[in-house]
Protein backbone atom coordinates (compact mmCIF):
# COMPACT_ATOMS: atom_id res chain seq x y z
CA UNK A 1 0.00 0.00 0.00
CA UNK A 2 2.75 2.38 1.02
CA UNK A 3 4.71 1.44 -2.08
CA UNK A 4 1.70 2.21 -4.22
CA UNK A 5 1.31 5.60 -2.59
CA UNK A 6 4.96 6.43 -3.05
CA UNK A 7 4.84 5.33 -6.66
CA UNK A 8 1.72 7.36 -7.28
CA UNK A 9 3.34 10.40 -5.73
CA UNK A 10 6.46 9.89 -7.83
CA UNK A 11 4.45 9.49 -11.01
CA UNK A 12 2.62 12.72 -10.29
CA UNK A 13 5.87 14.65 -10.02
CA UNK A 14 5.93 17.01 -12.94
CA UNK A 15 8.79 15.96 -15.14
CA UNK A 16 11.14 18.86 -15.65
CA UNK A 17 11.31 19.89 -19.31
CA UNK A 18 14.87 19.87 -20.64
CA UNK A 19 16.27 23.36 -20.44
CA UNK A 20 16.50 24.97 -23.88
CA UNK A 21 20.03 25.78 -24.98
CA UNK A 22 20.99 29.34 -24.10
CA UNK A 23 20.75 31.76 -27.01
CA UNK A 24 24.05 32.59 -28.67
CA UNK A 25 25.67 35.75 -27.36
CA UNK A 26 25.51 38.94 -29.35
CA UNK A 27 22.90 40.09 -31.84
CA UNK A 28 20.83 37.52 -33.77
CA UNK A 29 21.95 36.42 -37.21
CA UNK A 30 20.86 38.63 -40.10
CA UNK A 31 17.70 37.45 -41.81
CA UNK A 32 17.34 36.56 -45.47
CA UNK A 33 16.41 39.74 -47.34
CA UNK A 34 18.43 42.04 -45.07
CA UNK A 35 21.01 44.30 -46.65
CA UNK A 36 24.45 42.80 -46.01
CA UNK A 37 26.50 45.36 -44.04
CA UNK A 38 29.65 46.46 -45.81
CA UNK A 39 32.98 45.86 -44.11
CA UNK A 40 36.67 46.38 -44.67
CA UNK A 41 38.93 43.80 -43.04
CA UNK A 42 42.58 42.80 -43.38
CA UNK A 43 42.71 40.01 -45.91
CA UNK A 44 44.86 36.98 -46.62
CA UNK A 45 45.27 34.31 -49.25
CA UNK A 46 47.62 31.36 -49.57
CA UNK A 47 50.07 33.77 -51.17
CA UNK A 48 50.23 35.99 -48.08
CA UNK A 49 48.47 38.90 -46.45
CA UNK A 50 46.73 41.35 -48.75
CA UNK A 51 47.89 44.92 -49.21
CA UNK A 52 44.35 46.25 -49.44
CA UNK A 53 41.49 45.39 -47.11
CA UNK A 54 38.79 42.97 -48.19
CA UNK A 55 35.61 44.99 -48.73
CA UNK A 56 32.22 43.51 -49.45
CA UNK A 57 31.41 46.52 -51.65
CA UNK A 58 34.31 45.58 -53.94
CA UNK A 59 32.23 42.60 -55.07
CA UNK A 60 28.98 44.39 -55.84
CA UNK A 61 27.19 42.61 -58.67
CA UNK A 62 28.71 39.28 -57.70
CA UNK A 63 27.49 36.58 -55.41
CA UNK A 64 29.51 36.49 -52.20
CA UNK A 65 29.57 33.69 -49.67
CA UNK A 66 30.60 34.86 -46.20
CA UNK A 67 31.68 31.84 -44.20
CA UNK A 68 32.39 32.72 -40.58
CA UNK A 69 34.33 30.12 -38.64
CA UNK A 70 35.82 29.63 -35.17
CA UNK A 71 39.54 29.53 -35.54
CA UNK A 72 42.35 28.90 -37.99
CA UNK A 73 43.84 25.42 -38.02
CA UNK A 74 40.76 23.83 -36.52
CA UNK A 75 38.13 21.75 -38.26
CA UNK A 76 35.56 24.36 -37.23
Amino acid sequence: MLTTLVLAALLQQPTAAPAPPPPPPGPPALEVGAVAPDFALPGATRYGTLKNPVRLSDYKGKTVVLAFFFKARTSG
Partner: protein
Protein backbone atom coordinates in the same frame (compact mmCIF):
# COMPACT_ATOMS: atom_id res chain seq x y z
CA UNK B 1 37.60 24.68 -44.57
CA UNK B 2 38.87 21.49 -46.16
CA UNK B 3 35.38 20.72 -47.47
CA UNK B 4 35.17 24.19 -49.06
CA UNK B 5 38.55 23.60 -50.66
CA UNK B 6 37.70 20.12 -51.89
CA UNK B 7 34.36 21.24 -53.33
CA UNK B 8 35.59 24.60 -54.58
CA UNK B 9 35.16 23.73 -58.26
CA UNK B 10 31.73 22.20 -57.86
CA UNK B 11 30.20 24.29 -55.11
CA UNK B 12 31.85 27.65 -55.73
CA UNK B 13 32.36 27.25 -59.50
CA UNK B 14 36.09 27.85 -59.05
CA UNK B 15 35.33 31.42 -58.10
CA UNK B 16 33.59 32.35 -61.35
CA UNK B 17 31.06 35.10 -60.59
CA UNK B 18 31.18 34.03 -57.00
CA UNK B 19 33.50 34.98 -54.17
CA UNK B 20 34.05 32.94 -51.05
CA UNK B 21 35.33 34.91 -48.07
CA UNK B 22 36.18 32.94 -44.94
CA UNK B 23 36.10 35.12 -41.82
CA UNK B 24 37.44 34.55 -38.32
CA UNK B 25 38.95 36.57 -35.49
CA UNK B 26 42.47 35.31 -36.30
CA UNK B 27 45.16 37.79 -37.35
CA UNK B 28 45.69 38.01 -41.12
CA UNK B 29 49.17 36.50 -40.77
CA UNK B 30 47.75 33.36 -39.11
CA UNK B 31 45.12 33.08 -41.84
CA UNK B 32 47.73 33.49 -44.58
CA UNK B 33 50.01 30.79 -43.17
CA UNK B 34 47.10 28.38 -42.74
CA UNK B 35 45.86 29.10 -46.27
CA UNK B 36 49.37 28.47 -47.60
CA UNK B 37 49.82 25.19 -45.73
CA UNK B 38 46.38 23.86 -46.62
CA UNK B 39 46.35 25.38 -50.16
CA UNK B 40 43.02 27.09 -49.76
CA UNK B 41 42.03 28.75 -53.04
CA UNK B 42 39.83 31.46 -51.53
CA UNK B 43 40.15 34.70 -49.59
CA UNK B 44 40.25 35.05 -45.82
CA UNK B 45 39.29 38.11 -43.80
CA UNK B 46 40.59 38.86 -40.33
CA UNK B 47 37.85 40.09 -38.00
CA UNK B 48 39.94 40.60 -34.87
CA UNK B 49 37.59 42.13 -32.31
CA UNK B 50 34.65 40.43 -34.11
CA UNK B 51 33.02 43.74 -35.08
CA UNK B 52 31.83 42.28 -38.39
CA UNK B 53 30.76 39.07 -36.67
CA UNK B 54 28.56 41.19 -34.41
CA UNK B 55 27.04 43.04 -37.38
CA UNK B 56 26.06 39.78 -39.04
CA UNK B 57 25.13 37.96 -35.86
CA UNK B 58 27.89 35.38 -35.92
CA UNK B 59 29.37 35.49 -32.44
CA UNK B 60 30.46 32.24 -30.82
CA UNK B 61 29.92 31.17 -27.25
CA UNK B 62 33.70 31.13 -26.92
CA UNK B 63 34.91 34.62 -26.05
CA UNK B 64 36.38 36.60 -28.92
CA UNK B 65 35.47 34.10 -31.62
CA UNK B 66 33.04 34.02 -34.50
CA UNK B 67 30.48 31.26 -34.91
CA UNK B 68 30.20 28.99 -37.94
CA UNK B 69 27.44 31.05 -39.58
CA UNK B 70 27.29 31.31 -43.34
CA UNK B 71 25.60 34.00 -45.43
CA UNK B 72 25.16 34.13 -49.18
CA UNK B 73 24.98 37.73 -50.39
CA UNK B 74 23.30 38.12 -53.76
CA UNK B 75 24.43 40.49 -56.51
CA UNK B 76 21.87 42.99 -55.12
CA UNK B 77 23.78 43.15 -51.84
CA UNK B 78 21.10 41.40 -49.81
CA UNK B 79 21.26 38.17 -47.82
CA UNK B 80 19.85 35.52 -50.15
CA UNK B 81 20.53 32.48 -47.99
CA UNK B 82 21.86 31.79 -44.55
CA UNK B 83 22.93 28.74 -42.58
CA UNK B 84 23.15 29.57 -38.88
CA UNK B 85 25.15 27.62 -38.09
CA UNK B 86 26.47 25.91 -41.20
CA UNK B 87 26.48 22.19 -40.34
CA UNK B 88 29.84 21.36 -41.87
CA UNK B 89 29.63 17.61 -41.27
CA UNK B 90 26.13 17.27 -42.75
CA UNK B 91 26.14 16.53 -46.50
CA UNK B 92 22.71 18.17 -46.91
CA UNK B 93 24.23 21.47 -45.76
CA UNK B 94 26.34 21.48 -48.93
CA UNK B 95 23.40 20.46 -51.11
CA UNK B 96 21.34 23.35 -49.73
CA UNK B 97 24.20 25.80 -50.14
CA UNK B 98 24.79 24.61 -53.70
CA UNK B 99 21.11 25.08 -54.55
CA UNK B 100 21.14 28.60 -53.09
CA UNK B 101 24.23 29.50 -55.12
CA UNK B 102 22.84 28.02 -58.32
CA UNK B 103 19.76 30.22 -58.01
CA UNK B 104 22.00 33.29 -58.03
CA UNK B 105 24.76 32.16 -60.36
CA UNK B 106 23.33 30.44 -63.43
CA UNK B 107 25.18 27.43 -64.73
CA UNK B 108 27.95 28.33 -67.13
CA UNK B 109 26.92 27.08 -70.55
CA UNK B 110 29.94 28.36 -72.42
CA UNK B 111 32.25 25.84 -70.81
CA UNK B 112 34.76 28.56 -70.07
Amino acid sequence: MNAYRDQYAQLFKNGRKIVLIAISADPDTALASWARDAEYPFVFASDTGTAVGKKYGAIARFPGMTNRNLFVVGPDGKIAYRATPFREIDPTAYTELGAAINKLVPADTTGR
